[in-house]
């Protein structure tokens, strides 16, 4: 124990200096992080997903794949006919299921519980990138706007 202390003690100023420098660097990195987060500064405009209304989709419902991002329970109670449930936490499995039906000419319409569903937007953005397709949309109003029979 003594030998260890004897070996470390002379290095203490060096260790202190290294740690201090590291803390300074971490604090310096915090400044632009805070500024970009606080003022919502982006190096490029954030990607957006276009929303489609039910009426426009009903006019041309061919080649549409519906993606339901609500929870399993809500999906089991009711969903749009033919919709695929997409589990954001198991993205790869859900994506694989989608890929069995998807072709580049098809439109993918994602819906969540209602208007402004962050989960629906996240999934849609991700799918847009994964599928390298511009034909990924959000359903305006989400499931709440879907007419019930």
């Amino acid at each position: 124990m003594n030998t260890f202390t004897e070996q470390i003690a002379p290095k203490a100023p060096l260790i202190r200096a290294g740690l201090t420098q590291m803390v300074i660097l971490l604090l310096l990195a915090g400044i632009p992080t805070w500024l970009t987060s606080h003022f919502q500064i982006r190096w490029k405009a954030p990607a957006t997903v276009e929303s489609l209304t039910i009426s426009s989709l009903k006019q041309d419902s061919r080649n549409v794949i519906w993606i339901d991002v609500r929870g399993q329970e809500a999906f089991d109670i009711a969903h749009i006919d033919g919709a695929l449930r997409f589990d954001e936490n198991d993205h790869d499995t859900s994506l694989q299921t989608l890929l069995k039906e998807w072709t580049p000419n098809k439109r993918v319409v994602v819906y969540g519980v209602g208007t402004g569903s962050e989960r629906a937007e996240r999934v849609a953005l991700r799918l847009k990138k994964d599928l390298q397709s511009k034909k990924v949309y959000l359903l305006e109003g989400g499931w709440a706007s879907w007419p019930r029979n």
Partner: protein, 150 residues
Amino acid sequence: MAKKLAVIVSRALISLVLSWAAIAKLSDPSYTHIAIYQYQLASWETAELIAAYLPWVELVTALGIWIPRIRLGASTLSTILTVIFLSALISAIARELDITCGCFGARDSGAMLAPRLIQDFFLLVISLFLIKEDAASLDAQLHLSATTDN
């Protein structure tokens, strides 16, 4: 002379890799957020925080590695970052996660994890070499100032 050159080349390599990684991440924050989240080591919210902070830490480290007054801290930070990246990659491979590295933003989306593991190991060796050199240099300075004070 050869050692001096090795130190400069090492600094340039670390600086280049970290700057490239930082700029790639900053140019596509949403992709970085998702890539971090896919490692399943952090919640969605925590991954968002990491995605915002990590590129700046990388960038500050890449610059700091050239500044004599803070380069020991920068090389230590570079080592810690590399160890964290290595651990995340090893854990993803062990859990057989079918994900991409995300180390260099969206452009990295096709990269396999295993080659990145080798690259990170290489960076770790270089960072450790720089710590050794920077510590020796600072030690000499501290000794010199102690001698001058006495």
